[in-house]
Amino acid sequence: MNGGQFSLILLPTLACNADCDYCFENKSGCTLHLDQLPSMIHKVMDHMEVNQIEELCIYWQGGEVMTLPPEWFEQAHDIIREISAVREKRIFNYLQSNMITYSEKWNRVLSEMFGNSVGSSMDFPNLYRKLKGGYGPREYERIWTRNIMEAMNAGIHVGVIAIANEQTFDLGAEHFYSHFVDELGIRDFQINTPFPGGPVNDVKKGFPVEADRLSQFLMDLADVWMRRGFQRDVRVGPFDSLMDYFVHGNKNLLCIWRENCASDFVCIDPMGNVAQCDCWVTSYPEFRYGRIFHQGSLSDLLMKSEVRRSFQQRPGRLMQKEDCIECNYLHLCHGGCPVRTYAFYGDLFRKDPYCKLYKQLFQKIETMAMNHLRN
């Protein structure tokens, strides 16, 4: 798996304090018990042992991870450190949180376990991220802004994932960039494309957002970033990683553009369900690989899973079924994201519905890279 590294998306809880319209998760209050964690980690490390993998990257997500107390993570960290020391494996932890319940009591665990870094999410304008209990987008944004400011003042690096909506297009790329970089001081953010995963609602019925407007917005934002952020170390994904590829040849792209995500990572939820990623494990139970607590080994579970075999076969099947093999950017995309595809078409073996957008984006950044190299 990915050379010397195994990536695990671990959802310690499916509880969430937010009620966002486009969330793809079927949330429950289910939480991983700390006494189950050693067994899970040992099974993961058994799998690494079998495959001669030395490093484990754990991406902690939810639900909302901060519905668990920081003490839970401190204990989890101790458990994992102890096991990894005995088994001589290296561990890297990453955290994704909506930061709604963040306070300074999290700073110690953020520093010790997560390298003083956290990934969060916010849109501009915020239309769909809401709190439970009927508090709307404005209140959500107020609390989020206050908390990430406090975190950044405490020296914590905050990265932000944003999803563009119709009003984002009206405001334009310059305004969007200024909001995050100039007003909030965020120097690392990423634009994701929305998809209608999980239960249907009115907002998801509007996906995909108007493709031409989204495309124009991204092209404009790329120009703004190039003019204002590129030389100043502001990272805007996926532009920065594509630029790095076209200029330096480094291929560290988003998971949606990996050769085959089934070779790169798995996800485990609090009940021990194993699936391809958080979207699959929470939204599509029929696509789970198995349950880690119920099976002898993770290696067996992964090897015997017919569902996983489908994921592994997807890019190859697309080469025969779709026009990906004719594409000049095949080496960057490989047919795109399975969950976006399935959420739109109900069929795993089709190419990503944002294909046209991706191609425009690749072409745009390639041209920007060529101009940069010429100058």
Binding site: G4, S263, Q312, P315, G316, M319, I325, E366
Partner: protein
């Protein structure tokens, strides 16, 4: 059979990766140039946990059906340098494109390509020369390009690992010959000098080869097995390679002389 060739560096070919992983261990591994897996449909997992950075050559047999399997082959790249050998038959260029996209090196297994195959070869050559997505060698184009660029002597027999002075192919019955495409053919007792003899025969015939400016690179490679094969297609590919190499050399010379002028 390994014991018979104890003093030689060996290329070990098999259709069964598990057999390779089981049989090739310890000291034997030290004299392995590479292992050749004759079937990409085979389960390659044994090789993902075997050896360390042992070059692996995966031989595509049927481009159409083997194409999607390249994705599962890419797991091997984490442990070994991997080359995909592709026969130049209809549809092979798709395999080359996907292999290049997955960062494999590629070798074209070519004999006497005709019309549509030449068209596909020129598409592959165009991609090799000009597409940034190709970051690994595609042979024989790559070695020939470098030879033209450096003005170094090189024959296609050597590039294609068919120069019997350096390579021998041991058929399943244990008989030594030049390469797979010569298996069962009569090449005489003095295998090592076959290309020289063959070249002289072609010159003596006063046919196409005697007037060909690329003969020193080709040595009549494309005249086997049918000597009446017309080389117009493959010559156009050679010419493209040669022109591109000269163009690059000229560009770099111009760039260098510009820098020298700037300094003075």
């Amino acid at each position: 059979m390994l014991a018979v060739y104890r003093r030689h560096t060996v290329i070990v070919r098999s259709g069964d990766p598990a057999e390779i992983a089981k049989e090739l261990t310890g000291e034997d591994l030290e004299r392995v140039a590479y292992v050749q897996v004759l079937n990409v449909q085979a389960d390659l997992r044994p090789l993902t946990l075997w050896g360390d950075a042992i070059p692996v050559d995966l031989v595509v047999q049927h481009p159409e059906t083997d194409l999607p399997l390249l994705y599962q082959c890419s797991q091997l790249l984490a442990r070994h340098p991997v080359r995909i050998t592709v026969p130049v038959v209809s549809g092979f260029s798709k395999v080359v494109k996907l292999a290049a996209s997955l960062n494999f090196t590629v070798k074209l297994n070519v004999s006497q390509p005709e019309g549509s195959q030449i068209v596909e070869m020129s598409q592959v050559l165009e991609a090799y020369l000009h597409q940034p997505m190709v970051s690994q060698p595609i042979e024989y184009f790559h070695s020939m390009f470098l030879a033209f660029y450096r003005s170094e002597p090189l024959t296609l027999w050597a590039v294609q690992e068919e120069d019997p002075a350096y390579f021998r192919y041991i058929a399943d019955d244990g008989i030594e010959t030049i390469s797979g495409r010569f298996a069962g053919a009569k090449v005489g007792h003095d295998i090592a000098h076959f290309p020289d003899r063959f070249k002289k025969e072609l010159v003596a015939e006063r046919g196409e080869c005697s007037r060909c400016e690329l003969f020193e690179n080709c040595f009549g490679y494309f005249k086997w097995p049918k000597r009446e094969y017309r080389c117009d297609g493959v010559k156009s590919l050679f010419q493209l390679l040669k022109d591109a190499a000269h163009q690059l050399k000229n560009d770099l010379d111009t760039f260098q002389s510009g820098r020298i002028e700037e300094r003075s």
